[in-house]
C-alpha cells in the first residue's frame, strides 16, 4: 500500500529528477538561455545609452571591500611583476585597431583619471562600495583607432583557473560608457593585488565577474566565437554564466 507520505516523497523526488533532467537537456537550456537575450534587449530598450550607475559619497564606502575569484595570481610571471612593483607591466591594445598600442603601467597611472564611487554587485548576491580611479576605456580605444568592424572588446588577464586564462568581454555600448574605466587605484591607493593589481576593468552596469582583473591585453574583435570557448568569458565558457550580466 502506498501511504500518503510515501506518495508525496516519491512524487517530489520525481519532480526534482524531472527538473534536473530538464536542466541537463541542451534543448531546454537553449530555451532558458533565450531569456538572456530578451533581458538584454529589454534593458537596452529602456536604458539611455549613457545612463550612469549611481555614484556614492565617501561616507557610503564599505569599511572592508571584499575580493572574490583570484586573490593572488599563481603564475611565476605575475610573481616577477609583483616583485618588481609592476614596473614592467604593460597593457597591449590590439586586434581590430588601426594603431596597436602597448602602454606602460606608469603611463596609464599618469593619464587623466576619472574617479567614481560605485557599488560592486557580485553574482552571488553581495555588494560592496568602493572608490575607483582610472582611465576611461574610450580614451584608449580612440587612441588605438578602433576599426568599424570591431563589435566587442576582450580583456585578457594574468590570472589562471587551472590551466585556463581568465578573460572577459563587453560590447561597444558598455566599452564607450563614461563609467567604463581601466582602474589603477582604489579607495585613494594603488589597486591592491586581491582587487586586480595593477589594472582592472570597471563596467558599472554589470555584475562583478565582468570586471576583469590583472589586465594585460585588450583585444578588439568582430565576433566572440574566435576567442577561447567562444562565449565571451571564462565563466561563460566553463559554467554557463550569462555573457550579459546586467541582472
Amino acid at each position: 500500500m502506498i501511504t500518503r507520505r510515501r506518495f508525496i516523497a516519491v512524487g517530489s523526488a520525481g519532480l526534482l529528477a524531472g527538473c534536473d533532467r530538464l536542466n541537463n537537456s541542451q534543448a531546454f537550456r537553449g530555451v532558458l538561455r533565450s531569456a538572456e537575450g530578451l533581458t538584454m534587449q529589454a534593458q537596452r530598450l529602456i536604458s539611455p545609452r549613457d545612463a550612469l550607475a549611481r555614484q556614492f559619497t565617501e561616507a557610503d564606502l564599505s569599511p572592508i571591500f571584499r575580493s572574490n575569484g583570484t586573490s593572488m595570481p599563481a603564475t611565476a610571471e605575475y610573481a616577477r611583476h609583483l616583485a618588481e612593483d609592476f614596473a614592467n607591466w604593460r597593457v597591449v591594445v590590439d586586434g581590430l585597431v588601426g594603431r596597436p598600442l602597448s602602454i606602460s603601467i606608469q603611463a596609464l597611472r599618469s593619464m587623466p583619471h576619472r574617479v567614481q564611487i560605485t557599488r560592486h554587485d557580485c553574482v552571488e548576491g553581495w555588494s560592496a562600495i568602493g572608490k575607483w580611479h582610472g582611465v576611461p576605456l574610450s580614451k584608449l580605444l580612440d587612441a588605438a583607432r578602433l576599426s568599424p568592424r570591431a563589435n566587442y572588446i576582450v580583456f585578457h588577464c594574468a590570472d589562471r583557473f587551472g590551466d585556463k586564462p581568465y578573460y572577459e568581454s563587453i560590447d561597444l555600448i558598455d566599452a564607450f560608457h563614461p563609467q567604463t574605466i581601466l582602474a589603477v587605484g582604489m579607495n585613494g591607493h594603488l589597486l591592491p593585488v586581491p582587487n586586480g593589481a595593477p589594472v582592472r576593468l570597471r563596467v558599472e552596469r554589470q555584475l562583478g565577474y565582468k570586471h576583469a582583473k590583472y589586465i594585460q591585453r585588450i583585444q578588439a574583435v568582430e565576433s566572440l566565437a574566435e576567442v577561447y570557448g567562444g562565449k565571451g568569458g571564462y565563466w561563460e565558457d566553463t559554467t554557463d554564466y550569462e555573457w550579459y550580466a546586467g541582472i
Binding site: 536542466n23 532558458l32 538572456e36 555588494s127
Partner: protein, 253 residues
Amino acid sequence: MNDASEKSGRGGQKAASQRRIAYRHRLPTRIWHWINALAVIVMLMSGLMILNAHPRLYWGAYGANFDHAWLAFHGRPFPGWATIPSTYNLAAARRWHLAFAWVLVAGLVIFLFVSLWNRHLQRDLAPSGEQLKPTHVWEDIKAHARLRFPAGDAALHYNVLQKISYVAVIFGLIPLMSLTGLTMSPGMDAAWPWLVELFGGRQSARSIHFLCAAAILLFIVVHLVMVVLAGPINEVASMITGRFRVPPERAAE
C-alpha cells in the same frame, strides 16, 4: 466565477443539491492559475539555490561578509529537495530564475488585463464594503477557525479572507517580488534610479525580496491546507474544468 448553475431535476431534494454543479472558474483564470503556480514554484526553488550562493541578508546599499547581516546561515543551508537544480549550481539556478521571471510577470500582466476586461477583478476579487466591516471579517475568521467552510450559494463566491489574501498576493507580493528583483540588477538601477531609492538600497531590496518570498511560501501552504480541508478533488477539479460540485447547505442548528 459565474452564477450560472446546472441544477439536477431528478432525485430527492437532498440528492439534487448534492449533485448541483456550478461553473466557478473561467478559462483565463484557470490557465493563469496553473501557469502562475508553475512559475512561482520554479522561482522559489531556483531562488533558494541563488540564496545558497551567499546566504546572508543585509539592510542598506551594500553588504558582504565583513558587514553586519540581519540573517545569516552557514554553508549552503537549503537542501537539494528544495532547490533547482538539486546540486549546487548558481549559474543554472540563475538561468531558470531569470527565464521564469518573464513567465511570472507576463502571466500576471495578461491576467490583470483579461480580468479587468471580463470583470473578474471587479466582480469576484474586490471585497464589498459590507464584507470589509470588522464584524463580518471577524465572523469569517471565526468560521475559518472552526473549519466551517461556506456551503450552498455562499461557496460560489470568495469569502472576505480569501479575497484579502488573493488581492494581497496579486497586487502586493508578486509586484513587490518583481520590483525588488529588478532592483538587484545593476543595469536596471542605472536605467531606473528610483527603484533603488524606493527600497532603500540594493541589499535592502534583496532582503525584502526574501521576505516576500517567505510570505508567498506561507500563502501557498495555507492555500493548500484550505484546498485539502475544503475537499481537494472537487477544488482541484474545479480549477481544471471550471466546474464545481456545490456543497449542500447545512441544516440550521
